[in-house]
Structures are given as C-alpha cells and as structure tokens.
C-alpha cells in the first residue's frame, strides 16, 4: 500500500531495517541534516511505529513527511527537508 500522493524521487536513502524505536527517527534526523533544503530522504524501515513518528517529527520541526509505501512489512518513508 502507499500513502504517497505522487511519485517521489529520493535524493538519498537511509536503511534502518530491523531497528526499533528510537533509532529510525534519530538516524533519519541526522540524515536529513546532510541533505539540502527541498531534497527528499528515503528511509527503509521495518518499525510500524515510524509512520506516526515521522509525521509527528515533521510537523514539529517544519519538515515534510510525504508518506510511505509498504510491502510485506517493509516500509519506505519519504521526508522532504524544509527550504
């Protein structure tokens, strides 16, 4: 399934598969710091809690959570860094 409104082309990919809370969020935050404003980070993960965590993080920090796709318990999340 997918909650993405459009196809997104990631600028960077981060793999946090197998990691539990709080690592996906902490790692994603660090990775977002390394990309440019407006660029998109793709996060590969398996923690189902990350969906709402990323959305809440984005809202709090002014970045954008574009959504995720899911295939057999594997998630791809897309975060767009604020300008």
């Amino acid at each position: 399934m997918s909650t993405l409104k459009e196809t997104v082309k990631p600028d960077q990919t981060l793999d946090v598969r197998g990691m539990g809370c709080p690592m996906p969020l902490l790692k994603a935050k660090k990775a977002v710091e390394t990309i440019g404003g407006g660029q998109v980070l793709e996060v590969l993960g398996t923690d189902p809690g990350s969906k709402s965590d990323f959305s809440s993080w984005a809202e709090k920090t002014g970045n954008e959570y574009l959504g995720y796709t899911e295939e057999a318990g594997h998630f791809k999340h897309y975060l767009r860094k604020k300008q």
Binding site: G20, P22, M23, K29, D53, S56
Partner: protein, 188 residues
C-alpha cells in the same frame, strides 16, 4: 467623527498589534513552548530506557530538554554504574514474554535478577535498541541538559567525578524553574 492625529492612530495600532501578539492571537506570535522536563528517579535498567529514549527523541524533534536525575536515577549517569543496570526480578507481575510467565515466587531465587537483566538486554539487542550509555551519548549530542540532584549525590556519597562529563549538579529549585516553562513534564 473627530479626526485623529495619524501619529496617534499609528501608535494605537502598534500597541494593539503588540498586545495581540503577546497574547498569542496573531501570526508571528511567540513560538509555542517547546520544552520537556523529565525527572528520572529510578535506577533499574527497564526504567532507564524511558528518559533516555524520550530525551534523545525530543532532542531530534528540536525540543529543548532537561533530565533531572535524582535518587536511584543517578545510576543512569554514573560512569561505571550505568553499564551494570539491572532488571529487578521481583515485584513485577507483568514480567512475561509471549507464553513464558515467571511466577512471582521464582523471582526471589538467587541469580534471577541477572537472568531478568540478560533477558531484557537480549530483547533490546534484537530490536537494535542502543545500550543506556549509547543512548545517553545521543541525548548529550542532541543537546539534552543533564541535571544531577546534588542532595541525592550527598546522601548516596556520589561525587561529581563519578558521573559522566557534562553534568550540572543542581537542586530542586533549578529543576522547577526549568520545568515551570515546559510544555511536557514527566516523572519516571
């Protein structure tokens, strides 16, 4: 209608805008409170994860965070003690995993604390959750303020050198001063 001096009108408008702004009623109002204050009072491994996970996550969410370590909670920031935190095997009827239930009476047997600790560490490793010292480092990296309760240190004979670097030793007043401005306050 009497005309108002434009300068007076401008002054009145400006004051009204300022008042609305400080009341948080218009855009450009002061930022909403973005601070979390946690009291960490427990020194067992299971109770050490919560302040560490919430603290590091809040740091990543650009929140301002302070954790006040008091009483047994000081063990979490103890240089050597925090590598040997344990899970109590008694007084926890919720201790089970899947179908495996540990009867309360078994908890008092010798070696059960070590076993409970080992079990929790293995679950955490399986989920790739970092250790307490690692989480602590992440908290500090994220700018989380580490406050140690001076009174607890005195009572328990813990010196500042025994604690990790970057700790501020303070009293209840400091914590409350900080917490009174926080949107989130937790006692763990």
């Amino acid at each position: 209608m009497a005309t108002i001096d434009p300068q007076i009108q401008q002054y009145v408008d400006q004051r009204v805008q300022e008042a609305l702004k400080s009341a948080g009623l218009v855009a450009g109002a002061p930022p909403r409170r973005n601070r979390m204050a946690i009291v960490a009072s427990k020194g067992s491994l299971d109770m050490a994860y919560m302040p560490m996970i919430l603290g590091s996550t809040a740091g990543a969410m650009d929140m301002e965070v302070a954790i006040f370590f008091t009483f047994y909670g000081l063990q979490i920031i103890h240089k050597t003690g925090n590598k040997h935190l344990q899970v109590p095997s008694i007084g926890n009827p919720a201790m089970k995993r899947g179908a495996m239930v540990v009867p309360s009476i078994v908890g008092v047997l010798p070696g059960m604390t070590a076993m409970a600790t080992m079990m929790m560490k293995s679950w955490m490793a399986k989920e790739k959750v970092p250790s307490i010292p690692e989480l602590l480092e992440m908290c500090q990296e994220a700018g989380v303020k580490i406050l140690a309760c001076q009174m607890s240190m005195d009572v328990m004979g813990i010196k500042k050198e025994d604690l990790i670097d970057g700790v501020e030793c303070v009293g209840a007043g400091t914590y409350l001063g900080y917490a009174s401005e926080a949107a989130v306050t937790l006692f763990i």
